[in-house]
Symmetry: C2
Subunit: 158 residues, 2 copies
C-alpha cells in the first residue's frame, strides 16, 4: 500500500508535465510554403497595435488541403508573417519582420483552443515566444467566432 501511494505521489508530480500543452514548433522553411494572401493594416485600424504592418499568410501542404476541404488535419500549419510596412513616395514596401505568428493543428494536444496551438515568434526569433501560455486569451478569443471555418480567418484565393 505504501508503495502504491508512493507511486501515485510520484505520478502526481509527473502528470502535470505530461498533460501540459506541448510548445508550438517554429515553422521551419515556411517561406517556401504556399502564399495564401496578403494584407496591409494601417494606423487607425482596430488591430493596428497588435498587427500593424504588411502581413503574408503561408500554408504548408496539409494546411492547403485544409483550406480546400474546410477541415484542417493534424500537422496543418498556417503562418502569419508580419513585416513593417514602409510608406514612401506613393508606394508601400516591406521592412523588418515584427512577428511570425503560427497556428499549428494538433486536435488532441490543443483541444482547449479549438485544436490549434498558437504561438508568436517576436522578430522571427525562434527563442522569443510572445504568446506562450496565453493562447486562449491572446489568440483563440478572436479566432473562436470563425468556428465554421475551423477557426481560420483567411481563405484560399486564386
Amino acid at each position: 500500500m505504501k508503495r502504491i501511494l508512493s507511486f501515485l505521489s510520484s505520478m502526481a508530480l509527473v502528470l502535470p508535465a505530461i498533460s501540459a500543452e506541448p510548445l508550438v514548433p517554429y515553422p521551419e522553411e515556411y517561406r517556401g510554403w504556399h502564399h495564401v494572401k496578403t494584407m496591409v493594416i494601417d494606423e487607425g485600424h482596430p488591430l493596428y497595435e497588435a498587427f500593424g504592418g504588411i502581413h503574408h499568410i503561408y500554408a504548408n501542404p496539409k494546411a492547403v488541403a485544409g483550406y480546400q476541404s474546410g477541415t484542417f488535419p493534424d500537422g496543418a500549419v498556417i503562418v502569419f508573417d508580419l513585416l513593417e510596412a514602409i510608406p514612401a513616395d506613393n508606394a508601400v514596401t516591406e521592412g523588418t519582420r515584427k512577428v511570425v505568428g503560427v497556428m499549428h493543428r494538433d486536435a488532441r494536444n490543443y483541444a482547449a483552443t479549438g485544436g490549434w496551438g498558437f504561438e508568436g515568434f517576436g522578430g522571427g526569433d525562434r527563442a522569443n515566444r510572445v504568446v506562450g501560455g496565453n493562447a486562449a486569451s491572446a489568440c483563440f478569443a478572436c479566432h473562436e467566432p470563425q468556428k465554421d471555418h475551423d477557426y481560420v480567418f483567411s481563405r484560399l484565393r486564386d
Copy 2:
C-alpha cells in the same frame, strides 16, 4: 540552278518563322512557387498607370537558384502578379487580378532582350497577351539598367 533558286525562295518564306522568338509560356501553377516579396504602388507613383495595385513576385525553383547565385539559368521563371489594392477602413486588401507578368529565361531564344522572354497575361487570362512583340520597348527598356543583377529588379529576402 532554277531548283536551287526555288529552294532558297521557299527558305526565305520559312526562315522568318524559324527565327521569330517563341511565345513565353503561361506560368502554370506559379501560385505554388516561392513568394519572393510584395509591394504596393499607389496613385501618384510614376509606375501607377502600368503597375498600380499590390504585386507579389513569385519564383520557380530555378529562379530561386538564380536569385541566390546572381545568374539565372535557362528555365528560370519569375512572375509579377498584380492585383487591385483596395484601401478601406485603414487597411489595404487584395482585389481582382490585373495582370500576370512573366520573365522567362531562355538565353538563346530571347538574346535580344537580355536572355529573358517578357509577357503579360491581362487579368491572368492565358489567352490575353498584352506584351507580345513589344517586349523590347514595353519591358526590357526598364529592366536593362539592372544588368548587374541579370536584368531582375527584385531581390530575395528572408
